[in-house]
């Protein structure tokens, strides 16, 4: 029932995202059926992609992930190309950075058409009309912002490329629909303007109405050439007159004709349809909802040992994993390569690897108290990763592109997959570690060993410590881009120092009260050894009637930490082997490398600290969380801020 509800909800959301049901679209937009074009291939950026996927990529460059007038990307693409004049006043160009958005709006204030209401709409949506971008004060400001290479030039570049892409001539020239009849792989495909003389855009006064002669498509029979050209001009005419029926007819004709030009080159309609479907449904990132559904019962089963929740949770988890596997598989199929060469793919594939690891471990530990903990960890990690992909499409671009030449190597698969897999396992390990820390906290709360107010403040101080630490770190890394005013700097430093002192004080107090020592149980054994020895006659806690929560969480954390330790180290070594023959040195002290090594050092410290401390479970959990934070720092901050040689993943 729950499954049905989730599937129903996801389907509802999916339908909502489908192009034709959104409000704001015109009657014409709702009547036009572009489905045949979804199975039509376009050659661009060294790939053959479906028209819908092509439109998504280009419209994404124009409007980010925002939908223009609630239309589908394919519709907007054609509409912009055929009737650019209709978009003169439409807010179209996406300005990603909020700070830049505000500055541009300030520069725009003199514009007669900028009402307060429009101002607010632009500020929230980030979309601006082309004419606003071209308004002289705005253009002047953009020029100035473009010179600041540290803070704003990237945003300005994105705006300029949005302006270029939204030009109807660019859209037409890059809609390469006609395959070379010769069937030659390295010949570029042809845009329709090779068959139909293209009219210059009306906004160019010098060339208004001039028709460029059609260059023709070499090797294309005149008969086929004529029918394609006729269909295209017909489509163009029908579109301009808003004749949906005629448009639908021509679209169908075109979709049938184009593959016949070079059948050997044309990709299968199944693949193209799949690609369109995949992108229309947000790259299937909504599977996070499935994981969300699995998290609740799994948590119940772990905490309350409730058998029914156990069954429901595992079933939901397996279903979510299958759905995610399908997403990975579909992406693999439509891109023709294993998805691990950009940030989106690394993130989602890593989460999937986490699922694989969880299933293996669940199988191995099916008769132990560890069961469901791995699935829970994986569900949380996958949910977080897919949510990031779902809610931050601008940061995690799901467009499929060819991988860089430097990545074309078998070691890409070996090294990268090993590393992202180890990252997923580190993420998994963080979940039982956090559960253990929460358990500790609850025990202190219940026992009343510490005044409750102080106990209440502790997590707040920890959160503050993390946040302010992050802000200060970013400021130290790139003072220009993460500038702080004097007051803010003092405030943040104060909050950082204050929360740090609270945390330290509590740690010392805990030591004095032997809270973390004799007062509480000590999880000593853990990891694979516990599992292996647990099977023997030895007195492992796994053989006990009722192992304590600390023992279980600590044991599961250690199983994962050991795996992460080996996998991360192996991944690093593999990266060094690849770098040795790709860049000429196994180790280049690139930030990405150094922070992977740093993550490893944290786990190395964890393993040795565990040997010496009395409260093994607690310190293991703390260091597992620290290791996870260093890993995330590597993935996010190093990638987006301190990008080095690994900037592509």
């Amino acid at each position: 029932m729950v499954v049905a509800a989730i599937v129903g909800y996801a389907g509802y959301r999916g339908m909502n995202r489908a192009p034709r049901t959104d409000e704001g679209a015109t009657a014409f937009a709702t009547q036009v059926r572009l489905e045949p074009l979804y199975q039509t291939a376009v050659q661009a950026d060294g790939r053959l992609r479906s028209f819908e996927s092509h439109a998504k990529t280009y419209m994404g460059m124009v409007s980010g992930s925002r939908s223009v007038r609630g239309q589908s990307n394919g519709f907007t693409y054609l509409d912009l190309m055929f009737r650019p004049e209709e978009y003169a006043d439409t807010d179209l160009i996406y300005v990603k950075n909020k700070e830049v958005r505000k500055q541009l709006l300030d520069a725009l204030k003199g514009h007669p058409e900028l009402t307060t209401q429009r101002y607010d709409v632009i500020l929230v949506s980030g979309l601006m009309a082309r004419k606003f971008v071209q308004y002289p004060p705005v253009a002047g400001l953009l020029q100035k912002l473009g010179q600041d290479l540290i803070r704003t030039s990237k945003v300005v570049d994105a705006i300029q490329s949005a302006m270029t892409v939204s030009d109807p001539r660019f859209l037409a020239e890059n809609l390469r629909l006609i395959p070379p009849p010769s069937g030659d792989v390295s010949t570029p495909w042809f845009p329709m303007s090779n068959l139909v003389g293209a009219k210059m855009a009306p906004q160019d006064s010098a060339h208004a109405g001039m028709t460029m002669p059609a260059a023709g498509v070499p090797g294309l029979s005149s008969e086929l050439s004529k029918s394609v050209a006729d269909a295209w001009t017909g489509l163009q005419r029908a579109w301009k007159t808003q004749d949906a029926a005629a448009v639908n007819e021509r679209v169908a004709v075109l979709a049938n004709l184009l593959p016949t030009v070079a059948p050997s080159l044309y990709p299968s309609t199944g693949r193209l349809a799949m690609e369109s479907w995949y992108f229309r449904y947000k790259s299937i990132t909504w599977v996070w909802l499935f994981y969300l559904a699995a998290v609740a019962p799994l948590l119940m089963s772990v905490i309350y040992k409730w058998d029914r929740a156990r069954t429901v949770g595992m079933v939901l988890f397996v279903l979510a994993f299958l759905a995610q596997s399908a997403a990975v598989g579909i992406r693999w199929y439509i891109s023709g390569r294993w998805p691990n060469s950009n940030m989106f793919e690394a993130m989602t594939t890593s989460a999937w690897f986490g699922g694989v690891m969880a299933l293996i471990l669940e199988r191995v530990a099916r008769r132990t108290p560890f069961r469901n903990l791995f699935a829970l960890g994986s569900a949380v990690v996958s949910m977080a990763a897919l949510m990031a992909a779902y809610f931050l499409p601008a940061q995690l671009d799901s467009a499929i592109n060819n991988k860089m030449a430097a990545l074309n190597d078998v070691w890409l698969y070996i090294h990268t997959n090993m590393i992202i897999w180890s990252y997923a396992v580190i993420g998994l390990a963080c979940v039982p570690a956090l559960l253990l820390l929460r358990h500790r906290w609850c025990q202190s709360w219940d026992s009343g060993a510490v005044p409750r107010l102080r106990l209440f403040i502790l997590p707040i101080a920890l959160a503050l410590l993390n946040y302010t630490g992050y802000v200060l770190l970013m400021h130290a890394i790139e003072p220009a881009a993460y500038s702080l005013t004097r007051g803010a700097f003092v405030g943040i430093s104060g909050a950082f120092t204050g929360s740090l002192m609270i945390v330290m004080l509590e740690a010392m107090n805990a030591r004095a009260r032997r809270l973390s020592g004799a007062g509480f149980e000590r999880g000593a054994a853990g990891g694979a050894a516990a599992l292996i020895l647990g099977g023997s006659g030895s007195p492992s806690f796994l053989r006990q009637e009722r192992p304590t929560a600390t023992q279980v969480f600590d044991g599961a954390t250690m199983v994962l930490v050991e795996l992460a330790f080996i996998m991360l180290w192996t991944g690093l070594v593999m990266g060094a082997i690849w770098a040795d023959h790709s860049w000429g040195r196994p180790w280049g002290w690139d930030p990405k490398e150094v922070f992977a090594l740093n993550t490893f050092i944290i786990f190395l410290i964890l393993i040795h600290v565990r040997l010496k401390v009395r409260d093994k479970a607690f310190w293991t959990a703390v260091l597992a969380v620290v290791g996870f934070e260093v890993m995330m720092f590597n993935w996010i901050v190093v990638n987006f801020v301190i990008s080095g040689l690994h900037s592509y993943a």
């Binding site: 790939r47 600041d148 130290a476």
Partner: protein, 785 residues
């Protein structure tokens, strides 16, 4: 890691505690090892995430230098010492502990291997050009060569016998048309040849197909068709040859290269101790700075010593006195020169657009116009002549026919050029304007010439007149005489006088001995003409005004490096825009000059390849009257085997190369190595596919990207990464051992222990009974027992 708690070895007995013992105990403490690991973590984090620290003025370190600095080496050494001492003293070498031993041994091997690897590492890069053109001609002993990159120019012989050669273009995909190789594609080099006499022609050379060398005559096509023979001049022999690269430059180093002007070989002087990230300037006079960027004055004085073998500057003292990380040369004006040189700075204000500032120099043809030619600056030597400045900005043809007292001023808009004949009213003549050429550069004349070509019909004849803006150049072209440059152009028909006034700027600033005069010819004719002063704002049309910011009558240009503010620096520019100030002291005084950084030191400017590479040597006078030139670059290493490029290929995705790198699957250079005077067979080098030759590894790293407009151009050179790699095998072995150790420690050891516990239990079961089991296996709590 090990059984430190349980084993008595580490625990000293009373009275035995010597100093050595204490140190050993300290080093066998796990906490001590953890301490070093934490320090290592902090060190790595700072070096990597906060580059500003290693870039501090007193450190000036690259990433590589930070991670090879002595504190890092000390840290790693102490960590390793800890590892060794603890392992030997506290972890007994038994089967169960094999894993720990392997991990620790592997780590030590890795550290030692890395120390050796990085200690012997030499790493750098070099461009390898595709080919050179050999020129052989009668009257010339031996062959001359020129690098085959577009735009390259060479003159052979002197004076009236001069031959001009220019590489017109190169083509990576020239389809061969001749019989047996038809359909194949070759790399083509087109050399335009201008012989001292006769028609110029283009000689086409194909790599690998010398038999297909042929000439092409401009406008006439292939020589074989036009002349019946393949070559216009059989005596002139052009051929293609390899362009070997003998050196590579070492990354993150500095060096000065010196030679006498005229020599071909450079002598290297390494520069040690030069900063990298921060500017070092001793005086504000030396540079221009952004007003918002503070400049901290810090001078350096770094001697650059000559090598033992000496060089062109051996007798002089050479020192680096300033260093700039990222600067560009700028010209600014100041007043007070001895020579007349009017320079005007003005700002244009237009409602709704940002202020635009311009700088106009009357005597500099490249800088005397602004705003697409709408503002013009000129100098009028006699104040009286100011009245003769154009009164209309449109192009005009002035027609005078004195005999009939007719005077006509005809505006020449594009639409009335090439129209039908117009009668000159009141005369028997008619005319039409056929064409207009503005701003022609004629040999032997300083000022450009503008010409309107008019067809004139008189009752006697029809002829064309080239009406120039300078009356003495006006010519009448009779039939059979088509060239206006020849002296025998026909006499001018004096009955009809014509002068041509080309389109002029609507805004004219005329500097004259008495000041600055301003003329504005709007669409409706002359609107403003008067003297203007500095600071004055002139409203041109409502909403648009021009402000005169400064006017210098005798301006002197100051050329100095401008320190580019950090926010405007290209992020990956590295040291490409660095400059040093070099002070050369000879017996006759001291010369100081700014010298730009050049990525590579080339034999001559041909290799700059139209600006793709920097090549900017600076010259210094020597006491004997000769000159020495220097290049500021990086240290270089002679290759054991010179390399030549055979071919460069792009492996593309579907649809071919579109200008975007995402369409490229791979870059493949095919290289040959010179071994014992012979070129080896070509070896392919691609991304992820390096090759080793003579102790160095060669990696594909750069390429000559063709221009977007012409994908078959470009690819005239390839960039290689070159380096050695001693000790990688020790590193690899260490890593493999440690991985195996980890697997053993985590997964094999518990199995061994479990087996042992089971054996033990079986034994004790038999002997005593089940209650003793717990004690026997008590050691084995987890893997860490």
């Amino acid at each position: 890691m090990g059984a430190s708690m349980e084993l008595p070895v580490g625990r000293p007995l009373p009275g035995q505690r010597g100093a050595l013992r204490a140190v050993l105990d300290l080093f066998s403490s796990v906490w001590f090892g953890v301490f070093w690991a934490v320090l290592l973590f902090i060190y790595c984090s700072i070096g990597s995430a906060v580059p500003r620290v290693r870039q501090l003025p007193w450190l000036e370190m690259t990433e590589f230098e930070w991670f090879h600095w002595w504190p890092f080496n000390v840290l790693v050494s102490l960590f390793c010492t800890c590892l060794i001492v603890t392992t030997i003293r506290k972890i007994p070498l038994r089967t169960v502990n094999l894993g720990v031993w392997m991990i620790h041994t592997g780590m030590i091997m890795l550290a030692v291997g890395s120390y050796y690897y990085f200690g012997t590492k030499i790493e750098g890069d070099a461009p390898v050009f595709r080919c050179q053109v050999r020129i052989e001609m009668p009257g010339l002993s031996g062959a001359a060569t020129m690098l085959a990159v577009p735009g390259n120019h060479k003159v052979m012989m002197a004076g009236a016998d001069a031959w001009h050669f220019e590489i017109q273009d190169t083509n990576t995909e020239w389809p061969i048309l001749s019989d047996e190789h038809k359909g194949e594609k070759a790399f083509a080099v087109n050399v335009s040849v201008k012989p001292p006499s006769g028609e110029p022609f283009v000689r086409q050379l194909l790599v690998g197909y010398p038999q297909y060398t042929e000439d092409i005559l401009p406008g006439k096509g292939r020589a074989i068709k036009a002349l019946g023979r393949k070559l216009v001049d059989e005596q002139l022999r052009l051929s293609l040859d390899y362009e070997p690269q003998e050196y590579f430059h070492v990354m993150d180093t500095w060096a000065l290269f010196v030679r006498k002007v005229g020599e071909t070989q450079w002598t290297e002087r390494p520069i040690e101790g030069l900063p990298r990230y921060h500017d070092r300037v001793g005086s504000r006079e030396l540079v221009f700075t952004d007003p918002h960027e503070p400049l901290r004055l810090r001078a350096i004085d770094l001697p650059v010593d000559a090598p033992a073998s000496g060089d062109a500057l051996s007798a002089a003292s050479v020192r680096v006195t300033s260093y700039l990380r990222h600067a560009e040369e700028r010209r600014q004006w100041r007043d007070g020169g001895e020579r007349l040189n009017p320079v005007l700075q003005l700002s244009v204000f237009a409602e709704g657009s940002p202020v635009q500032s311009y700088e106009l120099a009357a005597f500099d043809p490249g800088h005397n116009e602004a705003l697409d030619g709408n503002i013009r600056m000129l100098y009028v030597p006699e104040t009286a002549k100011l009245e003769q400045l154009p009164t209309d900005s449109r192009a005009m043809l002035r027609i005078r026919v004195p005999e009939s007292n007719v005077a006509l001023d005809v505006p020449l808009a594009p639409q009335n050029i090439g129209g039908s004949l117009t009668a000159i009213e009141g005369t028997p003549y008619s005319y039409r304007v056929v064409d207009v050429h503005d701003g022609l550069a004629l040999p032997g004349r300083d000022a450009p010439v503008s010409i309107a070509v008019a067809e004139i019909v008189t009752p006697e004849a029809t002829f064309r007149r080239w009406v120039a803006d300078q009356p003495e150049l006006t010519r009448d072209m009779r039939e059979g005489n088509a060239d206006p440059h020849t002296v025998d152009a026909g006499p001018v028909d004096r009955r009809i006088e014509m002068t041509y006034q080309p389109r002029s700027a609507p805004l004219i600033f005329a500097a004259h001995p008495g000041g600055l005069y301003f003329v504005f010819n709007g669409p409706g004719g002359r609107a403003i003409n008067r003297d203007v002063a500095v600071g004055e704002s002139l409203e041109i049309v409502p909403g648009v005004s021009v402000r005169i910011d400064s006017y210098l009558a005798a301006a002197v240009a100051e050329v100095k490096p401008f320190i580019v503010p950090p926010a405007q620096r290209q992020r990956n520019a590295e040291e490409s825009f660095a400059m040093i100030r070099l002070e050369v002291g000879t017996g006759q005084g001291v010369q100081s000059k700014w010298v730009h950084f050049n990525q590579y030191v080339f034999p001559d400017e041909q290799y700059a390849y139209g600006g793709r590479f920097a090549y900017s040597p600076e010259r210094f006078r020597l006491p004997d009257g000769s000159q020495a030139e220097v290049v500021f670059s990086r240290k270089r290493v002679k290759l054991p085997n010179p390399i030549a490029m055979e071919d460069f290929e792009l492996d593309t995705h579907i649809g071919g190369y579109s200008g975007s790198t995402s369409t490229i699957r791979n870059y493949v250079s095919r290289l040959r190595f010179l071994d014992n005077g012979k070129w080896t067979e070509p070896v392919p080098i691609a991304v992820n596919q390096p090759t080793e030759y003579g102790g160095y590894w060669y990696f594909q790293s750069m390429w000559d990207r063709p221009p977007q407009s012409d994908p078959s151009a470009g690819m005239n050179y390839t960039g290689l990464g070159i380096g050695n790699r001693h000790g990688v095998h020790a590193q690899l072995a260490g890593c493999c051992i440690s991985v195996a150790g980890m697997i053993f420690a985590f997964y094999v050891k518990p199995v061994l222990k479990r087996r042992r516990a089971e054996e033990q239990r079986a034994k004790t079961d038999r002997a005593f009974g089940a209650e003793m089991v717990a004690e026997a296996a008590g050691v084995g709590h987890g893997y860490d027992g």
